[in-house]
């Protein structure tokens, strides 16, 4: 249950319980009012059930939305990673293509150079052969011819070495070319594979977005419904408040009449918790974990208004009455578990929610510090008590009147 729903339930609960308490004393005042109160109470209960159900559905929708958003975010992250990977692969393919072009150009150039070198070698051989034939009959310069023949051998050897060097370089480049082509093929395959993965992720993301859109539509519908219900409850509360005022007016008049008859000298009942006789004490030793008033819920990113506080204490701890009073209500309330309401008189009430068991009964008078119940057991060893104080129908911050550990 969301804090908003809790807030509504709390208001409704207090109003309903107050009316339930006040109803018997007003019964003598007018049966029409009691009937109206019963009717309104029934309608309120019904509306409360619907509101609770809607709130639960909304919560569920919110969880679904959160999960779906999480999945969308995950998919988006996955897609980003995939895009980065594809981009890297594209860059690699581009670099490989550039390298491939360069190597192909080099191979072509080496091929042309090889052809030129071979042609030059053949022509040089022809020139050498012609020169050899011409020089064979030249007996006048035998030493010169001998030297020229030697140098021609050196020249041809250098040319042949040049051809061999170009051949080796071309073979090496061709090997490199083959390697790059193989690399390009592998990278292309990888790219295709990753593209498929990316497409799958994209389709999953689109499906998830569609699902999220459905959830958001559902959430909006539920929020609208909840808003409408809350408006109805507010109107109902105003009706109940009006009836309550009428009851109080009647009670005041009854007290005046009783005072006139019995010339009562008793003092006026307290209207503020600070003026409560005997003062107030903490219901148990613990730490306030949920504060009173407007609080921002980071989970759902909403601002909610708490009518009470939640005190974390050891599991099974005893809950004591904060002051002298009479048990006005002890029973289960949806969203709050077992709830005990103590009427302190003068329109002052203290509400204890999320209890495991009661040690007092409805109508029983309790003193300050009287153990009224226990907190439930929990595997973690910690349980939470809901404490709300109301004065004249208005919720007040319990920490302002009771010393609580915050």
């Amino acid at each position: 249950m969301t804090p908003g729903a809790r807030r509504i339930l709390s208001a409704f609960l207090v109003a309903a319980v107050s009316l339930g308490i006040l109803f018997p004393s007003a019964a003598g005042g007018g049966r029409d009012v009691a009937a109206e109160l019963r009717r309104e109470r029934g309608r309120l209960l019904e509306m409360k059930k619907r509101e609770e159900k809607t709130a639960r559905e909304l919560t569920e929708a919110l969880w679904k939305e959160k999960r779906s958003k999480g999945r969308v975010d995950e998919l988006q992250e996955g897609l980003k990673r995939q895009r980065r990977l594809l981009s890297r692969i594209d860059r690699k393919i581009s670099a490989l293509s550039d390298r491939l072009d360069r190597v192909e150009k080099a191979v072509r150039e080496l091929g042309a150079a090889h052809g030129r070198a071979r042609s030059e070698l053949r022509r040089a051989e022809f020139v050498a052969f012609s020169g050899q034939r011409a020089g064979a009959l030249d007996l006048w310069h035998p030493s010169d011819r001998e030297r020229e023949r030697h140098f021609m051998r050196v020249y041809l050897a250098a040319d042949a070495e040049g051809v061999a060097r170009i051949t080796r370089a071309r073979e090496k480049k061709e090997e490199e070319l083959t390697g790059i082509e193989r690399q390009v093929a592998v990278t292309e395959k990888k790219r295709t594979r990753e593209k498929k993965v990316g497409d799958t992720l994209l389709s999953r993301q689109e499906a998830e977005r569609a699902r999220l859109s459905g959830i958001e539509r559902e959430k909006k519908r539920k929020e609208k419904e909840l808003k409408s219900l809350r408006a109805k409850i507010a109107r109902m509360e105003s009706v109940v408040s009006r009836v309550e005022r009428q009851v109080k007016e009647r009670e005041r008049r009854a007290r005046k009449e009783a005072a006139g008859k019995s010339a009562r000298g008793s003092a006026e009942a307290p209207r503020r918790f600070a003026s409560l006789s005997g003062g107030l004490s903490a219901p148990l030793a613990g730490k306030v974990v949920t504060r009173f008033g407007r609080q921002h819920d980071t989970t759902f990113d909403v601002t909610i208004e708490n009518r009470g506080v939640e005190i974390e204490a050891f599991s099974g701890a005893s809950v004591k009455s904060v002051g002298h009073g009479e048990v006005a209500f002890a029973g289960a309330v949806s969203g709050f578990g077992n709830v005990l309401i103590v009427q302190h008189g003068g329109g002052l009430f203290s509400v204890y929610g999320r209890m495991e068991s009661f040690l007092v009964k409805q109508g029983e008078v309790v003193k300050k510090g009287t153990v009224v119940g226990r907190l439930p057991e929990s595997p973690s060893g910690k349980s939470v008590l809901y404490l709300e104080l109301r004065a004249g129908g208005t919720a007040i911050d319990p920490t302002s009147v009771i010393p609580l550990d915050r």
Partner: protein
Amino acid sequence: MSERPSLWWIDWRLSPGPLVRETIGRFLLFCLLGFALLTLLLSGGVSRILADRYAITAVLRAEVPSGEGEGLARKAAALPPVRSATYRDPETAWKEFLRSYPGLDPLRGAGENPLPGYIEIRIRPDRLTVEDVEFVVSALRAVSQVDQVLAGEEWLPRLLSAGRLASWACWGIFGAFLAGFFLFARLQERARAVALAGDFAFLAERGVSAGRLAFLRAAGAALSGFLLAALGAAAGGGALFLSLRKFPILERVIGSPADLLLPRTIASAALFSIGVALLCSATSLLGWSAARAGRK
């Protein structure tokens, strides 16, 4: 004695006209032979030609710098049989090579020069023998900077044999000319002796012995032959000197003009003159004896 005619120059007195023509002819011949002799002496036959044609090539390693190559050339030039040693750097070798094979020039284009530098070693003409060449080659092969030595070992012995044969042929021709001169001069002497037989008989009747007459005629012929040969050799030497000065290219084949004044050259010319004098004297005696035999 003064009243008696001199028998030394009896032929000149008895027949001056023909003898002048004969002397002019012999002088011209001796000029020619002197020229040939000096040429052969200076050139050593064909040795100088062969020495000019033959060269040992010491191909240096590619990494040898020019300065080192020049130093090696200087060291090679200091070897006793070596006449000259010239270092050619790779660039020069490349240019020479392209001149020899002009078809290669456009083929190589921007390609670098593959040829190394080399040292061209020429041997002295008088030391151009297989032994001296092997001495130089082994000295060069011992140098680490020398990659290869091209000394024409395959054809050098044949070349030297051919050179020797050519030299012998030259000297043979020279000798043949001398022999021809001898035979021709003998015939001339005989003919003259026959023509002057009456005069010689008259002298014999007057108490001049035939032997004395023949001896004195031979001595006169020798003297005139010596003088003619010496003059001819001098004239030939002069002509050779002028030729060498005018055509320096001949120096590569024949030799330096200064060599003409070497003692050995002069001594050879003197020997030539003496030899000619002996030949003239012999032809005179042989002609005399042939004329007398024919008359009897």
